[in-house]
Symmetry: none
Amino acid sequence: MAQKTAPDSTRRSERSRRAIYDAALALVGEVGYAKLTIEAIAARAGVGKQTIYRWWPSKGAVLLDAFLDLAEQAAEAASAGHDTVQTEIPDSGDLEADLKFVMRATVDEFNDPKYDAPYRALAAEGLLNPELGQEFVEKLLEPQLQLFVDRVRRAQDAGQVLPDVDPRIALELWSSPLAQRWLMRSGALTHAYADKLVEYALYGIARRPA
Amino acid sequence: MAQKTAPDSTRRSERSRRAIYDAALALVGEVGYAKLTIEAIAARAGVGKQTIYRWWPSKGAVLLDAFLDLAEQAAEAASAGHDTVQTEIPDSGDLEADLKFVMRATVDEFNDPKYDAPYRALAAEGLLNPELGQEFVEKLLEPQLQLFVDRVRRAQDAGQVLPDVDPRIALELWSSPLAQRWLMRSGALTHAYADKLVEYALYGIARRPA
Amino acid sequence: MAQKTAPDSTRRSERSRRAIYDAALALVGEVGYAKLTIEAIAARAGVGKQTIYRWWPSKGAVLLDAFLDLAEQAAEAASAGHDTVQTEIPDSGDLEADLKFVMRATVDEFNDPKYDAPYRALAAEGLLNPELGQEFVEKLLEPQLQLFVDRVRRAQDAGQVLPDVDPRIALELWSSPLAQRWLMRSGALTHAYADKLVEYALYGIARRPA
Amino acid sequence: MAQKTAPDSTRRSERSRRAIYDAALALVGEVGYAKLTIEAIAARAGVGKQTIYRWWPSKGAVLLDAFLDLAEQAAEAASAGHDTVQTEIPDSGDLEADLKFVMRATVDEFNDPKYDAPYRALAAEGLLNPELGQEFVEKLLEPQLQLFVDRVRRAQDAGQVLPDVDPRIALELWSSPLAQRWLMRSGALTHAYADKLVEYALYGIARRPA
DNA sequence: TGATAACCGAGACGGTACGTCCTGTCTTGAG
DNA sequence: CTCAAGACAGGACGTACCGTCTCGGTTATCA
């Protein structure tokens, strides 16, 4: 299991770790992921290159950890105050209203330039790099989707959703189109769009029999 | 429009163009997009690097054209014989059946290793590079989606789909989840999954009022 | 003897030839011989590259012909008016005076920036390229030196120079040091220096026996 | 003085430096200076190109240092044993004999193929590149000439040379012609030729008054 | 309370690829 | 046929980073 003489993480420099995160996030915003380099991160962070190579296998991994850290901090801030980051989905009893609320917030978040560059970069890297993609999905994507699973399941218990519907699949009807439009820039992300997705998914597009 | 004394495309070498496409597609399959280099494409194609730089601005653009060419050839082959590539959506009168048929074929196509590497690479590159992303969407994505738009609109005319539904949004309910699962490797792509997406989208997941 | 299908020199474009000479001489002055390129000469002359490759084997050969042409023009101008270019050595009966006169003129010529760049370039190229060096020596160097041979021989006939002295070697005593200093930039080129070379060479540096 | 964050010479790899010298000297002999490339030197030396660019500004500079190193090694070898390389001029009291001895040795050295290619290349490069030319003259040429200055001055002190003769100029009467003939290939380099140069320079070519 | 072992900043190193420039050949179309 | 124009295969340029490797210099346990 030991690969080289694994580094001793107890002696790790916290200050360096933070500086690397900050540098990575700043640089990916400034020059883009393609032109992001380990050397530039090290230089900006005032850190030796080896310190990065010691703890991460690739620039994608650095950025993922940096972004995870950023999300974590945002979540902590949100739990205290009332911030934009979604940590759970409201349950007012009205599934449609609750979903629309969350989807509109997600639209706003996707439009926030702070998250755009790194998130997009990680998604792109994840497409090509299965290991990193796996981690991206597990640590960022699935936790968000799981909130929808829970909410749908609660609606099922309340008899508002058909009992034989698979919530894990159902949620993709509204979450995937949104993500897709954002990633591919294949359409505008508006509240109206988010609303329609929810409506279509809940009630279907087929004419109901009279 | 031209910035650098644009090359004279009438004198372009068709032989080189073909060789570059072949080399690019072969290499992206062998070593992956990240390790795909212009130098290697040129070497494999028996072509000077300048010949690539003369006609394309980046490796992504080369690969996009190569893939477009591949798709075009496949489409031509399909129009003659009966091949897998979808050039239109059947209209049997039964929307659900027709959509399921196409979605199952799409699942099979996504699982075809021949298309996997280049298509995935182009998607990833498109996430980071807006120009290329735009072209990717316009030339590859939208034409496919437009087929759904047409089919849904025909169903609307036949009174099978609610008249106030926007077909361009509706189709995302089944096409985006499939694409997303494939790109993110966030779930298995099966015929059953495709079927469910179509059913949920057509009839909704909410319990119908009695 | 024919190498490829030798070009037909009767149909050669005189206008192109002149333009190439002008371009080559101008460019070698502007950017130096190392950065002088066939492409730049062709572009500046408004000529196709092939027109250069058809008539010359290398940039050195082009420059040599260009410089020869320049020298020829200068000689014609000198024969008419009374210009600086030496076409023969005066014979006043006083060898020392005549040599000093020519040497001083040569110093002035070496200090003329018009000749500096191309002449220096040709000399350098000649060091490395034996064929071109041979031509350089035959067409530029030796004709100049032959003038000294003639003058020294006449002095010998007049009993002013020792009869067993080889004029071809003797002239090197003053001409080579001057050329060497200029090429190597290993010392200043002044009239005083030229005078001393002539005096030392004529009368020797050893103390004469009483 | 430093322009780009100058490299730390204390950490320089001695092994690489030696390998680069060896490769440069070998290659200049094999393919000639015009076809000598930094890339080939790096490949032959088993060294990254950057390692060359880090320490030298041009291939000429590499070759100069390589040749200087070669000369230094030869000088060390000569100081121990009795080798061909001239480290000083003998003083037997007979100036003519001493000069002829050294000049004949120089002729032999010029005819040694080991020194021919690099020395000729450096001379040519020095003609075009003033910085390198300066270094070439200072480090290679002048030290050799200084030996003549010293010997002539000693002869002056002994009353064998005219007191008002400038030794620095006098030595050019025999050394420049030899160098010139060699560089320009404008004549054969023989012992007889060397002897004549010395004789003419010492005693002059003019008929002595009766 | 030293020693001694890590992490750390720094950056030289052997490499690979970049995107540009130029070479010398070949092809096209005008005169 | 020559010529201007310029596409082509090829190859070197000088730069930028890669990931590995020392090199001192702090820490930070352990003997």
